[in-house]
């Protein structure tokens, strides 16, 4: 039986299902208790599982992260919510110096199976500090698994995978997708095990590859649909897992199409998008008919709501980049 779920409800269902099946899963953060989180992702969990399993903390991000480390050390599986992307920065030392390093420092004796949920990226008209794309900071830190779902189904399956993962996972939730809807066969999905480190072909095509993740996947799909009307067949890769990165799927697609554009909301300088471009060039140089291009945010602090339309990668900007892929001899 299929159920229509929003992205937010899919995350909520994933949390509830994992809390149901594993009594060591504990959810905490700011306002995640009776309120159910500012985006309602933890809605109803305290009522259903009790305040020992889903609880509010004092307002202190480093405290939340540091306490989660200790709880994971002592046999629990914390799932913490950082209320917004840029509000996670006070916890950055705990993430970089301890979450990422403690398993390594102890040669694997201390495992930190924990999930850091971060509502992230823009497109919702949020004011400052509510729209950062912070994936590059985390992806640059060895020891962190970094994923970003782009579909309702992935929101559900990837969050369940994240909670079951033996290592710490930074789970990036594109805020603009929270209200998107899909029909899911929840019963069968409960049995399916997704896998980190695997990208998927979100749309098949033959002329060029659009590589995107998280909030940019839907934009890339819209661009591919528009290009199809103009007779150009674009393949869209949903990266899904930033760390580990699926070189194979990405390279296979680019080798097939010979052209690629990487799309991401974050500023492009020293970014995940840059890394993807480098990896594609290294692997596909002889298959490439054009340089790999990027469509990213500008190298500026995330702009105010009235300006974000000029900042975010748009369908037009993606199509312009595709037009620049040296088609003359094609």
């Amino acid at each position: 039986m299929s159920t229509t779920l929003t992205f937010a409800k899919a995350l909520n269902t994933a949390l509830a299902d994992e809390m149901e099946s594993d009594s060591t899963v504990v959810v905490f953060g700011e306002d995640v208790g009776p309120l159910g989180g500012v985006f309602r992702i933890t809605d109803g969990l305290t009522a259903r599982f009790g305040e020992e399993r889903c609880f509010d903390t004092p307002l202190a991000e480093s405290g939340i992260m540091g306490m989660a480390i200790g709880m994971a050390m002592n046999g629990l599986r914390p799932v913490v919510e950082m209320q917004f992307d840029a509000f996670a920065y006070p916890a950055f030392e705990q993430v970089v110096s301890h979450v990422a390093k403690m398993p390594n420092r102890t040669k694997g004796k201390v495992k930190l199976p924990m999930v850091i949920r971060i509502p992230y990226a823009g497109g919702i008209g949020g004011v400052e500090h509510h729209c950062d794309s912070s994936e590059s900071y985390y992806a640059h830190t060895p020891g962190l698994t970094v994923v970003a779902p782009a579909t309702v189904q992935d929101a559900y399956t990837m969050l369940r995978d994240a909670i079951r993962h033996p290592d710490p996972v930074v789970f990036l939730e594109p805020k603009k997708l929270y209200w998107s809807k899909e029909d899911l066969e929840l019963e069968s999905l409960r049995e399916s095990v997704g896998s980190f480190g695997r990208a998927v072909v979100a749309r098949e095509g033959s002329d060029a590859t659009l590589i995107a993740y998280g909030p940019s996947v839907s934009t890339a799909l819209n661009a591919a649909a528009a290009a199809a009307e103009e007779g150009r067949s674009l393949e869209v890769i949903d990266v899904r897992s930033i760390v580990p990165f699926d070189d194979e799927t990405v390279a296979a697609s680019v080798r097939k199409t010979g052209r690629a554009v990487v799309i991401a909301e974050a500023p492009g300088f020293a970014s995940v998008a840059s890394e993807i471009v480098a990896r594609v060039q290294e692997r596909c140089f002889h298959s490439l008919a054009a340089p790999v291009l990027r469509v990213t945010g500008f190298d500026i602090p995330y702009p105010a709501p009235k300006l974000e339309q000029f900042y975010l990668p748009s369908v037009d900007r993606i199509l312009d980049a595709v037009d620049d892929l040296q088609w003359e001899d094609a």
Partner: protein, 374 residues
């Protein structure tokens, strides 16, 4: 979950302030001349317990001396000495039970050893072989933290998990005076108080954060007073008085175990040597200040006290010295042996399962090494 506002101790205390305020002076039970000082609140530990802890004190001093020597000989990269602070080190380790946890800093090697960790494993970090050398679960000792105060939150997490799991566990979380200025110190105390978890925060106030003196770190009446703001009791204790440390920490641990919640204990002590071997303490403190602390030495006063009790004589001293010498010899032997590091370890513990990127990089390194050796 327990009602965090529950404060059972308040029921039989006059006011919150009298319950939380530290003593006017650091609690002292054995003075620098080795004489017992009576204290209504804190009983003197019995002689046998003190003698057992005294052994660790002497071993700890020997460990500090030996480690300094090994750094001079190039066998260790660095050693932050706790010479003069050995009573704090020993007390932190012996005030808790086997199932309890200790969260040490980089300076707390002697505490780690007193908890039973093998010296060579404990010194792996400072030797430079790996970032930590022991399994934290073997003796419930977390890794030695080098960033300041961050480990206090991990301690709160372990305690909170223990509480949720119904375990009878107390956590002693150590830090220095400098760490009390860090944000994580405050977040840890606040979290511990709000969640009412069994953590004893143990601040070794050795008067300097590398070169910065305490009065430049805080203008609070004492570091122990900081506890009040978080709603937990604070106490200050003579950090060179083994008996007082055992009594004060013991009481805080007992209270935490009985569901009384967290507490802060500040030990007043002094770092007799430089911050590390790389530091020059003469640039920021005068020798006459250092000399003032010599007569307060934790070992000498306990020796006098135990000798007067007839628990310590030449023969017992000789046995203790021999034990200390055995530990030092094992340190020398272990650290003089060439350590073996495995380059493959670089990639082994980043993720539970190596990513394809790490497999490629490991293969590249293997290839480089095989070409070098060919």
């Amino acid at each position: 979950m327990q009602d965090p506002s529950r404060r059972s101790d308040l029921d039989h205390e006059a006011t919150a302030e009298s319950y939380m305020l530290p003593s006017g002076q650091p609690v002292q039970l054995v003075d620098p001349d080795g004489r017992h000082v009576h204290n209504d609140k804190y009983p003197l530990p019995d002689g046998e317990a003190l003698l057992a802890a005294y052994r660790e004190l002497v071993v700890g001093r020997r460990v500090n001396d030996q480690a300094n020597a090994l750094v001079r000989q190039g066998r260790m990269a660095v050693y932050p000495s706790s010479h003069g602070q050995e009573a704090c080190q020993v007390a932190a380790a012996v005030c808790i039970d086997k199932q309890d946890w200790l969260f040490p800093t980089y300076r707390d090697t002697v505490a780690v050893l007193a908890r039973g960790v093998d010296p060579i494993q404990a010194l792996t970090l400072l030797r430079g072989d790996w970032h930590s050398g022991y399994d934290p679960y073997e003796h419930n000792v977390s890794i030695q933290a080098t960033p300041l105060a961050t480990q206090l939150l991990h301690a709160v997490g372990v305690a909170h998990a223990a509480k949720l799991k119904g375990e009878n566990t107390v956590v002693v979380a150590m830090c220095g005076d400098g760490a009390t200025s860090e944000g994580d110190f405050h977040e840890a105390l606040n979290f511990a108080a709000v969640f009412h978890v069994p953590v004893v925060f143990f601040v070794q106030n050795n008067q300097y954060a590398i070169s910065v003196p305490l009065h430049h770190q805080t203008v609070a009446p004492s570091l122990a007073h900081k506890a009040i703001g978080y709603g937990m009791p604070g106490e200050r204790v003579d950090g060179n008085d083994l008996a007082a440390l055992l009594s004060v920490l013991g009481k805080a641990v007992e209270r935490a175990r009985d569901g009384g919640g967290p507490a802060l204990v500040e030990a007043h002590t002094y770092r007799m040597q430089s911050h590390t071997n790389a530091d020059d303490a003469t640039r920021y403190r005068k020798d006459d200040e250092v000399q003032q602390w010599v007569p307060k030495d934790p070992i000498q006063r306990m020796r006098t006290y135990l000798t007067d009790l007839n628990l310590l004589d030449e023969e017992v001293e000789k046995n203790i010295a021999e034990k200390a010498e055995t530990v030092a010899a094992a340190m020398r032997d272990g650290l003089n042996a060439e350590s073996e590091v495995d380059p493959e370890d670089l990639f082994r513990y980043v993720f539970t399962e190596k990513t394809s990127q790490l497999r490629e990089q490991a293969a590249k390194l293997r290839d480089e090494l095989s070409r070098e050796s060919a």
